[in-house]
Amino acid sequence: MKPKEIVVVSGKGGTGKTSLMASLAVLASEPVLADCDVDAADLHLLLNPQIQTRQEFWSGKKASIRQADCFSCGHCRRLCRFEAVHTEASSVQAPLKYLIDPIGCEGCGVCVHFCPVQAIDFKDSRAGEWFVSATRQGPMVHARLKAGAENSGKLVAVVREQARRLAAEHNRELILIDGPPGIGCAVIAAITGASVVVAVTEPTLSARHDLERLLALARHFSIPVLVWINKWDLDPQMTADVELHCRELGAELLGRVRYDPLFVAAQIQGKTLVEFDSGEVAEEIRSGWQRLLQWLV
């Protein structure tokens, strides 16, 4: 049976997505875990994965100029549409040195092809790495994208694919995914084909604005969304407004979690909230989890 994939996203960063998802990881029985926030992954700080395998992620190519063969005609710089070719003056008499910024290079190959003396190399690019690890909650897949890399969507897809593979291997029915912020390629790759998206938001104008954009994206891909309002007691009025508008925005409610300094205290101890405490905020998280389980059935 195909495992259920729950993706926790937020639109706006800082709403508590990773903190809440980590607690869900503890409450779930035998999940497979995935951290798809590949360019600023934090989940491992709470789940303490022991890395078992490490794989390189290769994606795209990068151009680089062989200085010995270059005669500084500057054609590459004129052709490059990504502002990745720079010049360096070495001395008054010497011609300008042309250099390609490996971070700015988008690997289109145009300069490589059109260089009149074929002085540009075009090599496969190692864009990051991904890991399969063990945590006390279950197997976890996570990744690290290299600085400035593109195709974060592809690495996110690799993480999800590996999570599905692990679910099949370990006979697990649930995959819990910590998603990336925003609404761009990484988020699209994280949510397409998911069983449900949990959108963690907070009662602030910024978060509300970003939630609307996130819900529009989920509608665009026909993926159901459950909205979880974190730090709800910072503005009960705005919380009520968001709840009222959820149906209009095409989403159902998962519940509310209050603001609590315990989240930071737990984080400092490297623990999830539900492991750290069993008071009211833990209750609210458990209740959200129960509601999610009910919805999935």
């Binding site: 994606s59 795209g60 195709n151 969507g153 592809k154 996110v156 897809a157 999800r160 694919e161 699209i188 790759a189 397409t192 084909g193 891909f221």
Partner: protein, 118 residues
């Protein structure tokens, strides 16, 4: 006319590959004689896997393609190449070939899954 079927295996008992864009190879079969050739489908691009696979199939000189799922970009290429696309095929290559011979497979009128990176 020959038919191409996606598979990650290497003979008629192998299961039909479910994801067209990421199929390891195509089996190009003459349904009359059951003679077949294996054509590899290497490459795992970040994007455009379906397109790359469809371009490859277009050059095989087949009249039809049978697979599990096919995304919109791949479908567009196959359609432009005049190739009939069958999706939802499950089971071994031999089983699916028989289903096709009996007219039990429906040609697709479009993609049956969203395209995405996976």
């Amino acid at each position: 006319m020959k038919i191409a079927i996606t598979t990650n295996g290497s003979n008629l008992e192998a299961p039909v590959g479910q994801r067209f864009g990421r199929a390891e190879r195509f089996m190009v079969i003459d349904p009359a004689t059951l003679e077949y050739q294996l054509v590899e489908n290497p490459g795992d691009p970040a994007q455009g896997a379906g397109i790359q696979s469809a371009e490859r199939v277009a050059r095989l000189g087949v009249s039809a393609l049978i697979t599990g799922h096919c995304g919109p970009k791949a479908y567009r290429v196959l359609q432009a190449a005049g190739i009939e696309v069958y999706v939802g095929a499950q089971g071994s290559v031999a089983e699916v070939l028989e289903q096709h011979r009996q007219g039990r497979l429906q040609p697709a009128v479009g993609a049956d899954v969203e395209g995405h990176w996976v």
